[in-house]
Amino acid sequence: MATMTPSYLASLTRLRSSIFQTAYNPSSIRTGAKYLRRRLRGPSMIKYYPMRLTILEMMKGVSTKTGKENGVVKYNAAGEEEDMRVWDENELQRLRDVEDRKMRGKGAPKKARSKGEGRRASRKR
């Protein structure tokens, strides 16, 4: 049987990598090639959740009173521009509730301007 010298084996590996178009890397050095070869995952990641229109996005279209600036105008029977704003009913109710609480004296406490002014500082030890 013919002796397989290391140089002979190395040349065999080099030949094999050239035939099969693989990188010749006899010492198995990490080349980072896998980070370049791997497919990009971002494009499929952003498609996971179905598109949903939120009130905030809808208001971008008709945010001003008539929507004229965005090229969206609706006229009523008298030929006047109509109010096309979209309201977030939950947010309006929240603001109404906050106003109610304020009138009953149950609003948020005043913010302390300086360190000594705080409620905690004026409390007796």
Binding site: R30, G32, A33, Y35, R38, R41, G42, I46, Y48, Y49
Partner: protein
């Protein structure tokens, strides 16, 4: 879709990954390539560390697209097991029907 905070955070992470993926890949390649000088690799690693947490693909988690639940997700439909059952029984999932024999 349940727009709870966890779903919103997940959407944020997905957008962040999409926007920064190529730059991160390039730095990853430089940092991991053993043929490059150590200083260069170290600099690349430092650059990698400056990316925010919502740019890493591991931050992204598949959540239920109907209820926002994070566990018991059937990957093929992107739904949690309960929403999957509900929708399947309402014939809202094509090609799925209740087993009976």
């Amino acid at each position: 879709m349940a727009n709870n905070i966890r779903v919103l955070r997940d959407i944020k992470a997905r957008n962040g990954v999409f926007a920064n993926e190529i730059a991160r890949r390039a730095y990853l390649y430089v940092a991991r390539d053993q043929r490059l000088p150590p200083q260069v690799r170290h600099q690349a690693q430092l650059q990698l560390n400056t990316f925010g947490r919502y740019t890493r693909p591991t931050t992204v988690k598949n959540r239920c697209s109907a209820s926002g639940k994070g566990r018991g997700i059937i990957a093929e439909f992107g739904l949690c097991r309960y929403q999957f059952r509900l929708k399947a029984r309402m014939n809202q999932i094509v090609g799925v029907q209740k087993a009976s024999w």
